[in-house]
């Protein structure tokens, strides 16, 4: 068998592919965070918890209403997005004029409350959620067995990321959003309802987290802690990509997924740390992140 650095090449190919798959989750989650930070200047620490809520809503739809995965994919982001509207209107809107630290504390508190509520109701060992029939099974690629569902996750993530990027960079709504970030007073003077736009942006960012939660439900354990492990990595992705940069989040998400995947072969113990090592190096070389604009 052909070897690279003493490892079978098939194993390395497999890891590259798995890295891309994990990167898809990182990209999707960090995209929502980046949008929220870019437009609202809020560091949304509740993102991981809302990702978890998205997965739980999928489970609830299936168990209480008999609605399958495909319904959940549409309904769960809508339901969690509606919840985000309430959150924004009641508590988060009070944070815009004060220090970032308060936003961080409030959203972190929200995350703890949400996780606590779900833990109290559903316990910690998780709930079963199966891969939909149409996406079960997989294909043998020669170097590894590729589950169909993982391929689907990558496809959906790439399409979603591209769509979001297009909306923000290439449409008039996106242009207004970007303008409102720069100078909300002026944009409001042109007759754009800026507060409503901000509310909807927050809801959209959160809906992306819930969407990622539904995608994750069949492959990860659906439990109240599922978001808290992931969120730290996702924050690193956003920071490396450049706070608030949409393209930065997408590229970095996939890139770090691959870096992490390869570390899992060469030195698995470091696989949780490698992302932070990259973060330190990037911040030393480019303090604004890879794609961020210097302040």
């Amino acid at each position: 068998m052909f070897m690279i650095f003493g490892y079978p090449v098939a194993l390395l190919f497999g890891q590259l592919l798995l890295g891309l798959i994990n990167g898809a989750f990182y990209a999707l989650l960090s995209l929502g965070l980046a949008i929220i930070f870019g437009m609202l200047n809020i560091i949304n620490f509740a993102h991981g918890a809302l990702f978890m809520v998205g997965a739980f809503v999928a489970w609830m739809l299936q168990n209480y209403l008999g609605l399958d995965y495909w319904w959940a994919l549409i309904l769960s982001p809508l339901i969690v997005g509606a919840f985000a509207v309430v959150l924004e209107k009641t508590v988060i809107c009070r944070l815009y004029r004060i220090d970032h630290l308060y936003g961080l504390l409030l959203t972190f508190g929200l995350a703890l409350i949400l996780e606590g509520l779900f833990r109290n109701e559903y316990g910690s060992s998780g709930l079963p959620y199966r891969i939909p029939q149409a996406l079960s099974g997989g294909a043998n690629l020669g170097f590894m067995f590729m589950p169909l569902y993982r391929g689907w996750v990558v496809l959906v993530a790439v399409v979603t990321c591209l769509a979001v990027w297009l909306v923000i960079e290439k449409t008039s709504i996106g242009a207004k959003l970007r303008a409102a970030t720069e100078n909300p007073g002026l944009v409001q003077a042109f007759g754009v309802n800026v507060p409503r736009m901000i509310t909807l942006t927050y809801a959209a960012g959160v809906a992306l987290a819930a969407f990622a939660g539904v995608l994750a439900a069949p492959i990860y354990s659906v439990n109240p802690n599922m978001g808290s492990n992931l969120i730290i990595v996702v924050f690193a992705v956003v920071v490396i990509g450049g706070m608030g940069s949409i393209l930065g989040s997408i590229v970095t998400g996939f890139g770090l997924g691959v870096a992490e995947g390869l570390t899992k072969v060469f030195y698995p113990q470091a696989s949780a740390t490698v992302i932070f090592v990259v973060m330190v190096i990037v911040l030393l070389a480019r303090p604004a992140g890879l794609f961020g604009k210097a302040a």
Partner: protein, 406 residues
């Protein structure tokens, strides 16, 4: 109106309770503290149901002339937090015995504090063999299981049934490493081979597919999962997704019935695992579970929780035997009495406690039923083999416990 009504109800309740408090005040009191994970990954394996089990033990024990209180706290899986709660309980709150204490690092810390204060520690939730080995002490009993027993029962059985080459996926901390190394010993002793091991960072890992792929590439017949809780569930879910289960057998070295419930039978079917208690094992365990069901109708106890019941009951018997004053004064004496008395209860049947503090009960090897075989809620296990108490645990001489004089 509502306020007035609740005020009335409150004063009525106070009137009912007050004389009882006065009446109980005359009796000597024993205080049991359940210290476990109430808010983290091990909430379902111990958590609130461990407390219910201890309360059940108090109820089943009945009135023997002294009052029994049960309190609880959350150690958050942090050794420093666990040790400081233990210290406060012993020094200020009058707690006589601490029960459960899952998470090996916390268990060792609490055991040390217990010895320092000469109280009693009845561990049910932790797996480390050090509790009855190099760090054993005269105040601690490890009731329910340990990594040696799990590795011997599950590992030994897998090798016997043809799974002679293994690959371990290990959580990179004390418990995971001990579990994998004990597992490897039994595999090798039975003539099998360990083809590789990958240690992943705990608890920061969500996706195990890379490790599973490495396991598959190794060509091993058995995938040994030296981890617990959500990590085990994620590994099994993803192993099924990547088609590993068609080529390899999965050995989850530590798995509880709540984990099986979390996975669902569709995914969990066919897994082999070891517990020292199952609610549907025999008439006595069914009777115990029926009583428990009145307090917690939606769940069934696992070995950790049932172990809390069994240990608490045996402790109360020892206290009744030696008198409350003596028991409160000297924790080591209570433990010595508990070792001298044979144990007998509905959850664990007849058993004993060994010189080094090891609870001696049979280890049961179960296979998880398929959805078709399961007839009722929580009807999850088929009994495959039983390792007798005398053979299930590490021989006394090998543990290195300073209490053992050979």
């Amino acid at each position: 109106m509502i306020a007035r009504r609740s005020l009335l109800a409150g004063s009525a309740a106070a009137a009912v309770i007050a004389p009882r408090v006065r009446a109980q005040g005359a009796k000597p009191r024993i205080k049991l503290g359940v210290l476990n994970d109430m808010s983290g990954p091990y909430r379902d394996t111990g958590g609130p149901l461990s407390i219910t089990c201890v309360q059940q033990a108090v109820q089943d024990f009945g009135d023997h002339g002294f009052a029994v209180d049960v309190i609880n706290a959350d150690h958050g899986n942090k050794p420093d937090q666990g040790a400081s709660i233990a210290r406060r309980w012993y020094d200020e709150d009058g707690v006589d015995v601490i029960l459960d204490v899952p998470t090996s690092s916390v268990a060792l810390a609490v055991s040390t504090v217990t010895k320092e204060k000469n109280k009693v520690n009845l561990n049910s939730g932790a797996g480390t063999v050090d509790l009855t080995g190099s760090q054993c002490n005269p105040n601690t009993i490890q009731w329910t299981y340990d990594v040696y027993m799990l590795a011997k029962s599950t590992g030994g059985a897998m090798v016997k049934s043809g799974g002679d080459s293994w690959f371990f996926v290990t959580a990179d901390y004390v418990f995971g490493q001990q579990l994998a190394s004990e597992g490897a010993k039994f595999v090798k002793a039975a003539g099998g081979k360990v083809l590789g091991e990958t240690r992943y960072p705990f608890p920061a890992t969500n996706d195990f597919s890379s490790f599973l792929l490495q396991a598959q590439t190794s060509g091993a017949k058995v995938l040994g999962l030296a981890n617990a809780g959500a990590d085990t569930i994620n590994c099994i879910k993803q192993a099924a997704e990547f088609g590993l289960t068609q080529r390899m057998k999965l050995a989850a070295l530590l798995m509880f019935i709540s984990d099986v419930n979390g996975l669902g039978l569709q995914t969990a079917q066919g897994l082999t695992l070891t517990e020292s208690f199952y609610w549907d094992l025999n008439d006595r365990t069914r009777a115990f579970s029926a009583r428990l069901k009145q307090k917690a109708p939606d769940v069934r106890a696992d070995m950790d929780q049932a172990g809390c019941y069994s240990a608490a009951l045996h402790y109360l018997k020892a206290v009744a035997d030696m008198g409350v004053a003596n028991a409160k004064a000297n924790g080591a004496a209570v433990v010595a009495r508990m070792k001298a008395m044979p144990t007998d209860d509905d959850a664990f049947g007849k058993g004993s406690v060994r010189e080094d503090g090891r609870g001696m009960f049979p280890a049961y090897l179960f296979e998880v039923k398929s959805p078709a075989e399961s007839q009722a809620p929580w009807d999850y296990y088929k009994l495959i083999a039983t390792t007798p108490a005398g053979e299930a645990y590490r021989p006394l001489a090998e543990g290195g416990c300073p209490l053992v004089h050979t």
